[in-house]
């Protein structure tokens, strides 16, 4: 699925060492996403909900944010709106397990860079991350 050549490129890339924040209330998926991002050579920190993330000082330091849309408390879309209001322009990748009509449109309208449907191929997330970090 992933060639060694690509990995080498990731590590050598300009974004090496960038901080990616990951917000998902499902612990095992969050841990897995943190692990994937680290295997790409980035730094990663995970949060169980949007409130914890906002309360940390990571929002301003994040080069990109990966967030679930449906979570207890603030949703991923509400998080994006909150970040915009706070003047944080970090690109946001949204992931969701749901296929309800209009959800993708609302996510993009809030400013999401990518919207991925779970379960997604790691490749798809990596492509989104590369686009986010190229900004």
């Amino acid at each position: 699925m992933i060639s060694s050549g690509r990995v080498g490129a990731d590590i050598a890339g300009v974004a090496e060492g960038s901080l990616i924040s990951i917000i998902d209330d499902d612990e095992s998926l969050r841990t897995a996403l943190v692990g994937l991002v680290r295997s790409l050579g980035y730094r990663a920190s995970g949060f169980a909900n949007a409130e914890d993330f906002l309360a940390s000082d990571q929002a301003g330091a994040s080069a990109a944010i990966v967030t679930d849309i449906q979570m207890p408390g603030l949703s991923g879309i509400e998080l994006r709106e909150r970040l915009t209001a706070d003047g944080c322009a970090a690109p946001v990748i949204m992931i969701t397990a749901r296929a309800e009509p209009g959800l993708r449109e609302r996510a993009f309208a809030s400013g999401a860079l990518c919207v991925l449907r779970k379960p997604f191929a790691a490749e798809a997330l990596i492509d989104c991350l590369e686009r986010a970090l190229a900004k």
Partner: protein, 411 residues
């Protein structure tokens, strides 16, 4: 003897009268009556005492052959017509045999309990048991033994038997129909929860795929990092186990296993039910609160059926909150203990129960939903009643509905 003393004469007349009434009743009653002579049993019990055996109950339990022998020396001295009709082949004489003929092994404990009741001076003993007809057929019977002091003193004992096999069969059939109904309802409920179940399985699958991708990347580096791969592989095993657990719970819920009573923890039932609810709650923006009392005694019930009740009530609660603003949607699942009964309450923040609907809530085919069958609550009630439980509904002070059920604590 007759003549002389007028008071003696009237006493004899009264005795004759009483005897006549007794014989008449004995013959005319619709129940099967037996008169038994257990004089030799008294001798056997005295023999035990001489050997220093005082705990008859324990001795009977350990020595079934002794109990069979007591039955064998207990003689049937008279039976009524009803007994001939129920047990025999039309000839009363062939019924006057040792009692063990009528007593299947599985009912030994009932004979033992009768002897213990007689010895301890109780006036009677009654229970449901199985007895055997002369043709060998074993049937369900309501058995009563009556220990009138003057009769016992003469080694005599009266027993009554009522054939309850029809009732027992009807009850068994009712239980089977109820179990089938409950199963149908469960399958239909699972159908409604398909999206939630798919989501619950999807999460660990997404985690597995992601962990595996990360593992490959660590392996494909110029210097593979095996420590990272080891950690990721362990996570993959844990996530695969989680997915397998979800599948096995769904399979248990969908399965058609005969319900069985076993001591179970109500808190674990509530926690397992949330598996089916987690995504349903999330997708309807309902916040869940669990208030589970510590150190609750177990209840005797079928785990899957109780899960069904909790999931059913919770799904109803979520549906009832469809018009509630999302920020106010809350579902509370609480457990507790009160007066020897374990309580479970399911409280929502919906509009509450319309007073006009309250009396009919648990009736079959009563529904307030456009697509509802009106079978959910009656099935919940019938499941709970099977295990000695009860269900009720009221409105909370906050205005939402509270459905609560209780089950006797098992000891």
């Amino acid at each position: 003897m007759s003549g002389g003393d007028p008071s003696k004469q009237s006493a004899e007349e009264a005795l004759r009268e009483s005897e006549y009434r007794y014989r008449n009743l004995f013959q005319a009653m619709a129940a099967s009556f037996w008169e038994l002579d257990f004089t030799p049993v008294g001798g056997m019990l005295r023999g035990l005492r001489k050997q220093g055996i005082a705990d008859f109950a324990a001795y009977f339990a350990d020595n079934p052959a002794f109990v069979r022998q007591m039955m064998h020396v207990t003689r049937v001295i008279d039976v009524n017509d009803q007994t001939v009709a129920l047990f025999g082949n039309g000839d009363k004489a062939e019924l006057l045999q040792p009692l063990d003929v009528y007593w299947p092994e599985e009912s030994n404990h009932v004979y033992a309990a009768s002897v213990l009741a007689a010895v301890s001076g109780r006036p009677s003993y009654a229970t449901e048991t199985k007895l055997r007809k002369l043709n060998g057929e074993v049937f369900d019977a309501l058995f009563t033994a009556c220990f009138a002091p003057e009769a016992v003193a003469n080694g005599k004992l009266l027993i009554g038997v009522i054939d309850i096999s029809e009732r027992v069969r009807a009850q068994a059939m009712l239980r089977q129909v109820q179990a089938e109904f409950a199963h149908e309802a469960r399958v239909s409920m699972l159908g409604e929860l398909t999206a939630s179940i798919a989501h619950e399985v999807n999460q660990p699958l997404a985690a597995i795929a992601t962990n595996a991708s990360a593992g490959l990347r660590w392996l494909n580096r110029p210097e593979p990092n095996l420590d990272e791969v080891r950690v990721l592989t362990q996570r993959i095993i844990a996530d695969a186990q989680r997915a397998a657990d979800i599948i096995s719970r769904v399979r248990a819920m969908a399965g058609h296993k005969a319900p069985e009573s076993a001591p179970i923890s109500i808190n674990s039932v509530v926690e397992e039910a949330t598996l089916f609810l987690a995504h349903e709650l999330e997708s309807h923006s309902v916040a869940l609160t669990l208030q589970l009392a510590k150190d609750l005694p177990p209840v005797l019930a079928d785990r899957i059926q109780l899960q069904q009740v909790v999931v059913n009530l919770a799904v109803n609660a979520v549906q009832a909150m469809s018009q509630t603003p999302t920020k106010r949607r809350r579902l509370a699942l609480c457990t507790g203990l009160h007066d020897g009964r374990v309580h479970v309450a399911i409280e929502d923040t919906g509009p509450g129960i319309d007073a006009a609907h309250q009396p009919r809530l648990f009736e079959s085919f009563f529904t307030t939903k456009s697509n509802g069958m009106g079978m959910g609550l009656p099935i919940c009630r019938s499941i709970l009643e099977t295990y000695g439980g009860a269900i009720s509904a009221r409105n909370a002070e906050s205005g939402g509905a509270v459905f609560s059920f209780t089950l006797p604590a098992a000891h």
